[in-house]
């Protein structure tokens, strides 16, 4: 994949303090407190994540087990092999994978909203979901036996990346100068096309419908360390690139032409951010399925609660997104335990009302 991303030009070197930019555009923002709050939330979510599950393991047992397995600490834990197995092989991978996926979806959503200056943008805007969905569906209906679980992540990842590449190619070469609108419209068209193919395949293989449907709604119930290893490089690379561009996203907020006047190549920033977000999001959905809503509500919640600057929104969304998805997974795995609710149902069901409440109280000045 595109590990060699084109480096930004001099002015766009992201870590450099934005000297040339007027103070009006980039007011002093402290990200420290919101980040601290988000980190506390994340730690809380992780504690809940490792200690709550269908297998009744008490909180002290969980901590004793974890302490007993920490390196350099000679503490003897009396946890049974089975309990430790549940904690280490089932719950922890779920927590870590949930964190990575949540961080990626929320961070990707925030970045897309910035680069397209559209509050409704989410990481699926340019066809990631449709592409991954088609890739997954192809494997589910055409694959046989255990091949399905082996190849599904790769097919979903490839589908997502190809879909966004198609969108970008069509959107940026269509007639006039490429605008964000033409890219978004190309995304709509590509998504419609791929979804049509996917729907056709589903109809042709109706017994597989449940499998496809379950994947679309997402699941972290079978998370393993192998999944974590699979997506960690992509998610890390993606997160780092996005975070390096947080200041440029702030500049883009004033408009592409204004950003151009400040010497920023908006099209290039857009390409880098989209490429990075796509890589990470594609990796995330390839192991988790199409978990919706995280990319929209988490960044907006951060904006409503703290600050609209991307220097705050981007990192806090990532940390908050991780916390949110870890908790959503706990709900998904435990409400009807041992049966699992699709995590996408939880993120929407819990997330939407909370977000509406936030939006309302913010307007009426309660917050």
């Amino acid at each position: 994949m595109s590990t060699t991303l084109p480096r930004p030009t001099k002015v766009t070197t992201p870590d450099e303090p934005a000297r040339e930019t007027p103070a009006a555009i980039l007011p002093r923002v402290s990200a420290r407190r919101p980040i601290l709050v988000a980190v506390v939330a994340l730690i809380g979510a992780m504690v809940v994540g490792v200690s709550v599950g269908p297998a009744d393991i008490s909180l002290p047992t969980v901590f004793s087990a974890l302490a007993g397995h920490l390196p350099f600490i000679h503490y003897h834990s009396h946890t049974s092999a089975i309990d430790w197995d549940v904690i280490w092989q089932i719950r922890l991978p779920g927590v870590v994978l949930g964190g990575l996926v949540g961080a990626m979806l929320a961070g990707g959503g925030a970045a897309y909203q910035g680069v397209f200056r559209n509050p409704l943008a989410d990481p699926y805007l340019l066809g990631v979901a449709a592409g991954a969905g088609l890739g997954a569906t192809l494997v589910i209906v055409e694959g046989s036996g255990s091949n399905v679980s082996t190849f599904l992540p790769f097919a979903a990842f490839a589908g997502a990346v190809v879909a966004v590449a198609m969108t970008y190619l069509v959107g940026t070469t269509s007639g006039r100068r490429a605008s964000t609108a033409s890219i978004v419209l190309a995304g709509v068209a590509v998504a419609a096309l791929l979804t049509a193919i996917q729907t056709y395949l589903q109809q042709q293989h109706e017994p597989d419908l449940q499998g496809v449907y379950a994947w679309i709604l997402g699941s972290l119930g079978t998370a393993s360390w192998a999944d974590v290893r699979l997506i960690l490089p992509y998610v890390t690379l993606s997160a780092v690139v996005l975070l390096l561009h947080r200041r440029l996203l702030d500049v883009l907020r004033v408009g592409e032409e204004e950003a151009g006047a400040l010497g920023i190549n908006a099209a290039r920033v857009r390409l880098i951010v989209v490429a990075a977000a796509t890589l990470g999001t594609a990796a995330a959905v390839s192991v988790s399925g199409l978990i919706g809503f995280v990319g929209i509500i988490v960044p907006h919640t951060v904006r409503l609660l703290s600050n609209a600057s991307y220097r705050v929104v981007l990192p806090v969304s990532m940390i908050g997104g991780a916390a949110f998805l870890i908790l959503a997974n706990v709900v998904a795995l435990n409400v009807q335990a041992p049966a699992e609710i699709p995590i996408g149902v939880v993120t929407a069901f819990v997330g939407a009302p909370f977000f509406l409440f936030l939006l309302r109280s913010r307007r009426t000045g309660v917050l």
């Binding site: 269908p54 089932i90 589910i140 017994p207 597989d208 041992p338 049966a339």
Partner: protein, 317 residues
């Protein structure tokens, strides 16, 4: 993938139908109580089936079976020569007239094209009975049996319908005898042996009260799914989770997703966290034939025999 989902769906659909139809089915099959006397059917014959009272005017010679289990039963009672077409999932016996007929979304026109005089189904969710009634074709529904007795009744029912009641009775006697022998030879345990019965890779399972659960229960075995919340509301087919299974630590794992999903003992041992399970460590992960494990036909004896064999192995090691 395709097969498991369908089997599960069929089991669920048939399960709901079975539950409502328990009372109805009994009438017809307890009717020829004097078996020796009424061993031959006099047509027209009326059968109180799961889908209502049906009349078969004459000995059927063009049966369309839309149920893999019914197909196996029809051949077992010697009615195979009267079968004209079987659905796409009826893969046993090999010499049955296989077609592409889809049992889940049956196409009336495609069925009528075979000019059937009896259609056997395992459940009717699409109004097939009413549709085929317009063509004067009787539909006999034999939904998933919820007990061995129901399976035996279905043999009788098919025997009456096809004019092979004597052979149906003989087949039931044979199955009963075989089961008795297997159970008698199986090792006795003071504590019930626990097992996890895997229907697919999303951990859908079966409780001890399901048809298969009752059959394994004959060997003194108990499903870990019994303890799952939602075991009852799911009709005995709850979804479990990896964590639940590991914590329950069953003595045995039975895989009914070997054909559909290529699962086996090796792959189970490699699942995250499963290596510590007693069943895995003791080599008690047993692959079953998905098809046999999801049907309630004559080959239930094979299933019981496979499971009993693994238990014998258990006691000798």
């Amino acid at each position: 993938m395709a097969r498991t989902k369908r089997r599960l769906l069929l089991a669920l659909v048939a399960g709901t139908f079975g539950a409502t139809a328990v009372g109805a089915t009994v009438i017809s099959t307890s009717l020829p109580g004097a078996a020796a006397v009424s061993a031959t059917t006099t047509y027209p014959v009326q059968i109180a089936a799961a889908n209502g009272k049906i009349t078969i005017p004459a000995r059927p010679t063009a049966i369309v079976s839309m149920s893999p289990t019914a197909t196996e039963m029809l051949y077992a009672i010697g009615a195979g020569s009267q079968v004209k077409a079987v659905d796409s999932y009826s893969d046993y016996p090999k010499d049955a007239p296989h077609t592409k007929l889809d049992a889940l979304t049956p196409n009336v026109e495609a069925i009528v094209a075979y000019k059937p005089d009896l259609v056997v189904v395992a459940g009717d969710t699409t109004g097939l009975t009413a549709e085929l009634a317009k063509f004067g074709v009787p539909v006999l529904s034999d939904p998933a049996a919820t007990s061995l007795n129901q399976e035996y009744q279905q043999f009788d029912e098919l025997g009456v319908a096809t004019g092979h009641l004597a052979q149906a009775k003989a087949e039931v006697t044979k199955i009963k005898g075989q089961i008795k022998n297997i159970v008698a030879a199986a090792p006795k345990h003071t504590k019930p042996i626990t097992y996890y019965f895997e229907l697919d890779q999303t951990y859908y399972s079966e409780t001890s009260s399901t048809f298969i659960g009752q059959v394994l229960g004959l060997l003194g075995m108990k499903s870990i799914a019994d303890a799952a919340k939602g075991a009852a509301s799911s009709g005995g087919y709850p979804q479990l989770s990896s964590e639940f299974i590991i914590k329950a630590n069953p003595d045995y794992i039975f895989l009914a997703d070997t054909i559909c999903c290529g699962q086996n003992a090796k792959k189970v041992a490699k699942r995250p966290g499963w290596a510590v399970l007693t069943a895995v460590k003791d080599g008690h992960v047993v692959g079953l034939n998905d098809d046999i494990a999801s049907r309630w036909g004559p080959r239930i004896v094979d299933l019981l025999s496979t499971v009993a064999h693994s238990l014998n192995h258990h006691s000798s090691t």
